[in-house]
Subunit: 391 residues, 2 copies
């Protein structure tokens, strides 16, 4: 019997984080206040809300190490990414029509690029991925050398949502600088989940989604080294200095600061989380030598494991774990409904027999050994059950 | 002494609504639940959140009389308007380069159109406004006739944010249909504030911002008669059937349904609100014959008064009212920082002497006679005070 049966173990933080305790507590108190109005209004209510946003901006800037005015609040990473692509690609010289990207990006990138291909005449080239899920830097240099004068931009994410594998984004930023090519790296799985320093990153842009870090959904921000070059995607008045229209989601913005502050105060726990994860993976492989930890040899997000069992069906395992009140997914939330090997795993050369049998376990800094113990117990029980059926 | 001195009177609902009581109550309970996850996840948490969104979509569709699948959730009207303009104008034949709009639109429209003018070669023509702040239909027909083959679209709002004056949007929709021209009407000040029936409106699109109706900020929706023609502005996965990417702001969406439901149950109160407002305006003019009610003769939003006192300064009045805990603005939140006559009033032919002296009082359906009594008392006292200084 799983001792955690009566308490939910949420293990889908890469999909979305529940509101974290500090945010819930903040909101309970915040709801009691009278401070609800338009932050752009002339009266003191509006001014107090603006002060709250300014303070939030400063807290966030301090944590990610950027200037407050490099932060543009928006509805989240999808909007941030759409605006950055709009800014770079819609203003690109027609001679530069090649976009170099990776086959392991979040689905927003291929979806956006198919628009830029069909409507604006861009061509996409994919950089190679090694068996550990990491972008092949040599291949990137080859592509940049081959298409040099035609390259509009390079798009390679910072940490993969399915495998948790960190990508060498600072290295890529350096290379792109040498080639004088624009680079965008999706930092959605990085900010508030691992150490991130915008100033030192070498990146021109970074993006964050509130719902990935335990704040309210529908909120997030873009960091831009030079915000003034951004083209507005959402028009409006002078909100966010004209870079993003619409009355700001001020409650969301306040919870971004609360959530990032909690992360910052707890990030020392990530090392323990990682140790507990590696022990969990080791134990699992010891009991079931067939088990494959995808991207095992690469440096990964502390709490992320993508675990495959050849021949079993990931969704069956997921349902079995859910019966023990453990919530995992098969790959990313956005591709869950496709019962086939994800494109990320295909790019890593993983075959369907394994690819269909993966589950993603993604924990956050507040979790650790206790959760992995419960997950181990339930997962072993599930593997044993389905192995018997298979035989 | 103002009897309401210890209780805030919020009179800036056209700028933004505070969270309404039903939404606060909903959120307090909702925060206690465990239902926080990615609505697109495969597990039951995700599925339950999706069910909540589906139910919210159905409630909203029922209230505004459209089909649930005509609703696309987003971050609010600014995003909705940006997407609709992007859809219509980016796919427009280059022969059709004239946009007919009005000089009383919310600032998002001139700001967006200046982008389409400078980057895409469109030309904007303004339709005339009568002295009551209503679009001149004859002038619109003249413009449509003159530029017929070149007209890309017509943009005229449904209700003005400063004066509250209703525009003849259904009539304009009919005219545009006859001329076979696209029409967009900004319904931000209409939905959740006055009777609105999408099916009967004749409109192809409508937009709503959560923060204008008392739900969470950073949430809203577009209604599209034929959603499939929408071009995504925010890319993503298959969220909102591919029409708007990004993990949905599900808490916001739930509060949209709660807020619209409260409106729907209370809209019978609008008639009393209107009566109380007309009495308030009558009393004020009786005491101060110089007072001008902008757009007085036009049909207006039940709780909106734009009140001018020639020679006085609106901001001084606003501050005086705030000292009595009454929160009003001078014009729209988005232009509050400009101490000059708003472009809406200029378009109505109002001179600076009056234009600089206006304050906007905008109440919602839960308010009425009691609030107007307190506002009358404080406003009279303010007018008397500043009149003495003037002399």
């Amino acid at each position: 019997m799983n001792v955690k049966n009566n308490n939910m173990i949420y293990a889908d933080f890469n999909g979305s984080s529940p509101l974290i305790p500090s945010v819930k507590e903040y909101l309970h108190k915040r709801l009691e206040s009278e401070l609800f109005s338009n932050p752009n209004a002339i009266h003191s209510l509006g001014q107090k809300i603006t002060k709250g946003m300014t303070k939030s901006r400063e807290i966030i800037a301090d944590i990610v190490n950027c200037y407050p005015d490099q932060i543009i609040f928006n509805s989240g990473s999808s909007e941030g990414i759409s605006q950055i692509l709009h800014t770079i690609l819609d203003n690109m010289s027609t001679k530069k029509n090649v976009i170099i990207t990776s086959p392991i990006e979040h689905s927003i990138i291929p979806n956006a690029l198919s628009y830029y291909e069909s409507k604006k005449g861009f061509i996409t080239k994919n950089v190679g991925i090694d068996e550990n899920g990491k972008v092949d830097i040599e291949d990137l240099i080859k592509l940049l050398t081959k298409h040099h004068d035609q390259v509009a931009m390079v798009i390679v994410m910072a940490a993969n949502n399915e495998t948790g594998v960190f990508q060498p984004y600072s290295h890529i930023a350096e290379i792109c600088k040498e080639f004088n090519v624009e680079y965008f790296s999706d930092t959605t799985q990085l900010i508030g989940k691992a150490e991130f320093d915008f100033e030192k990153s070498g990146l021109q842009y970074a993006v964050c989604s509130g719902h990935k870090i335990g704040s309210l959904s529908g909120t997030g921000f873009t960091i831009a080294r030079n915000p003034s070059i951004l083209t507005p995607l959402v028009f409006g008045s002078s909100q966010e200095r004209g870079l993003r229209g619409g009355t700001q989601h001020y409650l969301g913005i306040e919870t971004l600061a609360v959530a990032l502050n909690s992360f910052n105060q707890s990030k020392h726990l990530l090392e323990n989380l990682k140790k507990a994860k590696l022990k969990f993976e080791y134990d699992l492989k010891n009991s079931f030598p067939e088990v494959v930890i995808v991207g095992e040899k690469a440096d990964r997000l502390s709490g992320t494991s993508l675990i495959g069992y050849p021949g079993l069906h990931g969704q069956a395992i997921q349902i079995e774990l859910e019966s023990c009140n453990i919530f995992v997914t098969t790959s990313s939330a956005c591709t869950d409904n496709q019962p086939e090997t994800s494109k990320v795993l295909k790019a890593m050369g993983i075959k369907d027999e394994l690819g269909r049998g993966v589950i993603r376990i993604s924990l956050n800094y507040s979790q650790g050994q206790e959760e992995y113990n419960a997950i181990t117990e339930s997962l072993k029980s599930a593997y044993n059950k389905f192995n018997k059926i298979k035989i």
